[in-house]
């Protein structure tokens, strides 16, 4: 990927912490914490994977950061700003700088790729302009530029429901990038993809972190992908952080502990996607 001047400001910021999470706790029901006293920092341009068995709280953690889910307790400081205290309007401002990528892409299937990418600009627009889809010339150029960098420029004017899973996820990433984010939250971005497309997507995320200095927090089911692509790995189990460190520090015993006494082999070895490959 080439350097993109408009996406560059993230890198200019001092090396410090982009995100500081302290004592983050979430109770959906009184009896059980889905997230219990989780603390960690995230640097600018760092790609951190979050692993853990199903139900360990990975999605909850991610969605608390941009308050798609309201945390019960704790503090989240993003780029020097306390997220928990923000009011509605301020929260919308914040969300412009934190984009999201989803397992099921969450695109508007009836619209074209470029229209979906431009949705990333909605937070920057007046309600009316956004409603009728009135984008500036520079926004359109930027969207097309990003589509070109992700190698799907040829599908810009194709409706999403004609694309393969891998292509849809690239549109999802393009929508995330056009937001000019400082942080991208990815909730199992490769869980619905075949291994080859999964590599392509992880490669793009790695390049985004390195080239633009955009931090990525990525929930992953496959530990081997996490080890290969991340700067750091955080492991959750029953809502608690049980590991936080370099990928090479993640021993087999540690993985067994995270996933329970008898680790499910499919969690560690490259797995065939359980869901039908929609490509």
């Amino acid at each position: 990927m080439t350097q993109n001047p408009t996406l560059n400001q993230a890198q200019d910021s001092a090396k410090g912490n982009l995100l500081e999470i302290r004592g983050l706790t979430k109770y959906y029901i009184k009896e059980r914490a889905a997230l219990n006293d989780v603390s960690f920092d995230l640097h600018y341009g760092e790609l951190v994977s979050v692993i853990g068995p199903s139900g360990s709280g990975k999605s909850t953690l991610l969605r608390c950061i941009n308050r798609m889910i309201e945390p019960t307790a704790g503090s989240i400081v993003f780029s020097g700003q306390e997220v928990i205290k923000l009011r509605r309007k301020e929260l919308r401002m914040l969300r412009r700088r934190i984009s999201m990528v989803f397992q099921h892409y969450n695109l508007v299937h009836r619209l074209t790729a470029v229209e979906n990418v431009l949705h990333g600009r909605l937070g920057y627009k007046s309600t009316i302009a956004g409603m009728i889809g009135l984008y500036s010339e520079s926004e359109k150029m930027k969207a097309l530029d990003i589509l070109a960098q992700l190698d799907i420029i040829d599908y810009s004017y194709v409706r999403i429901d004609r694309l393969s899973g891998g292509q849809m996820q690239r549109v999802g990433i393009a929508r995330a990038l056009v937001q000019d984010p400082l942080l991208i939250l990815c909730d199992e971005p490769i869980a619905s993809l075949d291994p080859k497309s999964a590599r392509v997507i992880m490669g793009y995320l790695r390049a985004i972190a390195d080239t633009y200095g955009i931090a990525c927090l990525v929930n992953l089911h496959q530990v081997d992908f996490a080890i290969e692509y991340s700067d750091r790995i955080i492991a959750l189990r029953d809502g608690e952080k049980v590991f936080d460190g370099n990928p090479n520090m993640l021993s087999t015993e540690m993985i067994e502990e995270v996933y329970g006494i008898a680790p499910d082999a499919s969690q560690i070895t490259p797995q065939i996607p359980l869901e039908p490959f929609d490509g």
Partner: protein, 263 residues
Amino acid sequence: MDEATRFFRNRTITIALATLGILAVNLVAGGYLQFNVSKAVSDMPNGIVWMFSNFIPSKGSLEKLPIILRQLLTTVMISIAASCISAILAIVLAVIGSESVGLKKPVPFIVRTIASVFRNIPTVAWALILLFSFKQSEFTGFLALFLTGFGYLTRCFLETIDEVSAGAVEALRATGASYGQLIAQAVIPLTATAVLSWVLYMIETNVRDATLIGILTGTGIGFVFDMYYKSFRYDAAALVIVCIVLVVIALELTSNLIRRMIL
């Protein structure tokens, strides 16, 4: 005995019991109504012969055709109007009552309650109730179709919205999009075809129901049929039925065509 054997044996028993149950219910109900199956079956040929000797449009009935067509057009128009207006109201209610883009707590519950009340009162019952306030008029028929259609469509749209747009709505919300933008950029494009398809279906159903309603409210094609039927003009009444059937089939073909075009 292993689990699989037990599972399939239990399933067989369930099916057998259900069949017996249905038969028993039939016998009880038939007994209560003193419905004699063998007599009903033996009477059927006579009934069919009577139908075919009387219910045949004759040459004479053809001169009634202009009246019939004019009333049929009124009925179709009222059905379309009722469907479209109920759809507009239903969309608004479904949006504010949905899980993914709905308003705060009590609103979705209220919307669901309203929808199910209106949907569960049959159109004919509405017509009978409304007859008291609005007398025998076209407006009564329109209102009856409108009220049930509105309840039914609200329910359908609620499900459609939550089914097809939840993911995209979450994504747009995460970009910092405002409420209006969510609706215009995600909910509307994702639900438009399903909504149109439901409205077409509603028009078809309403034309069928309108015939029956017309008999009660003394308007439209239902009234024309009732009039001929009661004055023993069976040939003209039969012509009315032929016309209704043709219109219903034509409507269904048209809406299938539209559906294929938009999907």
